[in-house]
């Protein structure tokens, strides 16, 4: 109840602010501010509907999950909900497998982003050249991005099935392996399968973004470089990469956040198993929320995830010098 009240107060403040701004600008049908002040205020007025929507859609769940992180909040015991200080955070970091799960999360994000970036870049470079049926080929390549994670998860789950999977079958036929591998039942392999699926799914996104950036590079730059005797590698590092750097930074940033937060592929392919060896923090949060109904603990984990991501974004933008990217 207190939460709803807090939320309503926040909404009322925002609405009040909006009405005040509208009134200030149109009192009596006459503009009260000078044209320059009005121009300065304009962006905020345009932002206001979006901000209101964001607060409506995300504000309440965000505030509520933050509050729940400090409560003993079990859906199965609605009468026993009460504030419990930092107990959820203490419990979280004393879980037996928490460090394994943190390590998994780090590896999952690192290899998925790196794999998607390298393969997406390669694909974009290849598609940047003209060749017959390029449009058709491009459409097929981008297809995985349109599939739902559930379908991709099921596809990989069956492909990597230890007994009937096509992967083992092919590897056996080509004599790469001599006996079947339990991909989903072996620590290490199970996480690798999930990373493989995530890379497969995300390559098109990187390729689309980088291809768009590549197509904006003026051809004269390459011509001038060729006249100056630049080789392929030098052209890439002196012309191509600086031009696409802003796009790469934003894409890597976005994908890192999305991948870090994603749990659908993991749930469908391995469900975190065996013994949490393919579990990541968000999939663990999902498990805690919907198998033990411990929303307090899951919210504590959510708050930790949020802090980690905010720190990552700040650090990433600083170290990549995003503001200076694209300056030549």
């Amino acid at each position: 109840m207190a939460m709803v009240f807090l939320y309503l107060v926040l909404l009322a403040i925002l609405c009040g602010l909006g009405i005040w701004m509208i009134n200030k600008h149109t009192r009596g049908g006459r503009v009260c501010f000078s044209p320059s002040t009005k121009r300065r205020a304009e962006p905020y007025l345009f932002l206001f509907p979006t901000m209101l929507l964001l607060v409506l859609m995300f504000g309440y769940p965000l505030i509520n999950s933050f509050v729940m992180a400090f409560q003993n909040y079990k859906l199965t015991a609605p009468t026993k909900i009460a504030f419990n200080g930092l107990a959820n955070f203490k419990k979280l970091f004393s879980e037996t497998d928490i460090w394994l799960i943190i390590q998994n999360s780090f590896l999952y994000v690192l290899f998925s982003v790196a794999g998607q970036f390298l393969l997406g870049l390669t694909l974009a470079m290849a598609l940047n050249k003209r060749f017959p049926f390029r449009g058709l080929y491009q459409a097929i390549i981008f297809l995985p991005w349109s599939f739902s994670a559930f379908v991709i998860g099921l596809m990989h789950r069956w492909s990597f099935n230890g007994e009937y999977g096509v992967v083992n079958d092919l590897l056996l036929k080509f004599s790469v392996i001599t006996e079947k591998i339990a991909w989903l039942g072996t620590p290490g392999y199970s996480l690798a399968v999930v990373i493989f699926a995530m890379i497969w799914m995300g390559i098109p996104f990187f390729a689309i973004m980088i291809l768009a950036a590549l197509q904006s590079i003026p051809a004269e730059m390459y011509e001038a470089a060729a006249i100056d005797g630049c080789g392929v590698i030098r052209k890439f590092f002196q012309i191509t990469f600086p031009y696409i750097k802003p796009t790469v930074i934003v894409t890597v940033l976005l994908r890192t956040i999305w991948i870090f937060n994603s749990f659908d592929l993991i749930v469908v392919i391995t469900n975190g198993g065996p013994a949490n060896y393919s579990q990541t923090l968000p999939s663990y949060m999902y498990t805690k929320a919907f198998s033990s109904y411990d929303f307090g603990l899951a919210s504590a984990l959510g708050v930790v995830l949020m802090v980690v991501l905010v720190l990552y974004v700040a650090l990433f933008l600083k170290t990549t010098k995003y503001n200076k990217a694209g300056n030549f």
Binding site: T76, G162, E163, L184, P274, Y293
Partner: protein
Amino acid sequence: MRKKGLLLVVALLAIMTILPAAGSQEKSTKPLRFIDVSPSPTRQEYFTTTFAKFKQETGLDVVYESVPWDDAANKLTVLGASNQLPDVMTTWAGWLGQFTEAGWVEPLNSYIGNSADEYAKTVTQLVWKAEKELYGNIYTIPDGMMVKGVFVRKDWAKEVGLNLDPTKGWTYAEYFDAVYKLTDPSKNRYGTSFRGSRGAFDPLFVYLESFNGGSAYAADGSTLMADQEAIDAYKKWNGLYLDGTAPKDAINWGFVEMVGNFTGGLTGTLINDSEVAATCLENMKPEQWMVMPMPKSDKDGKIYNTVNSPYAYSIASSSKNKANAWKLIEFLTRPDNNIEYCKLTGLIPIKTAVGNDPFYGPNGPYAAFVQQLNDPAMVVPVAFGPFNFTDMHQGMMHEEMQKYLLGKQSAKVSLANVVYELEKRMKAYLAENPGSAVEQPKGLF
């Protein structure tokens, strides 16, 4: 001023629109809501046809809702927490601890009244007795009964020279021996559909109980499953996986994979409930499969086997139509409707009035199951406990086992982590509920 007035009018209109919706009360004439937690085309057809008959007889409408089994616990929990549970729901016995703790289900004692005699002993002596002991009241009417058995590839057994006779039964030693004999990886045959994922601890728990006369706890709530005998039994059971009588992938197998790989021809035995017989009838030839009773304890010769209902009908305590909801349950469990349902879903009927239907006779597909229910040596061991163990069942129980199977943890530690957690919860339950006692194993005779 005019603008302020306009804003006030808009705000009032908004409030007036929201308030009636928030405060609306359900009327008793509304159709009954029914939710099925294990939907399939067959079940849905049965329920919709039966609800049409129900409407003809009583004039009451029933709205059919369903949720896939994998999401059922979550959905019902969310509905329960938001006070929106349907009038009648199919529930699972394992959720009752949580549902009764939260007060989401209605006690049915007064509704059952004098009609208890109409029900089979399996219902009155086992299900209801256990519910009364654990939760103080009767909360469910079983949809049908099921008992576990060992499904065996009859053709493979013949090939390896195993002489299996369901009427004589077998011991756990003989069962383990058969599993090893049926394993032949060169033919892509494995002896058992080993359960390594969710639910993996269920059959293992019963096996461990077979060394303690069907008990899991001492009177003070201390575990009986942490001694050397239990550790050896734990190793023996998991040895089936470690010795290669199941594919390595089985560490991730749940119900679907176990059944699919048995009917698909990868594994030679499958411990499961009688409901799987319906799947076998549909997908296998009669000469390919048979059912053996659950093995007898190597220690005392008794059959320790769970007897329960896959699902059961309950009335939500938030229902505004409780009397009509009970009418619907009575109709669904009426002998003619119940036997039709049980045949469709592979269960044993719950009413005594079903008589001697040949389908459940000595030559029918359920012979081994019914035979166990008539065996004086059969004992129903105790359940995990009256407390809420959903979180353990969905995580810790199989995860600890998986750690042992992967060689990351010893058998002693894996077993101890689970049984001491159960002990902790059992002792807490006993302390919080003065006058309550540890459940005792039950027989039908």
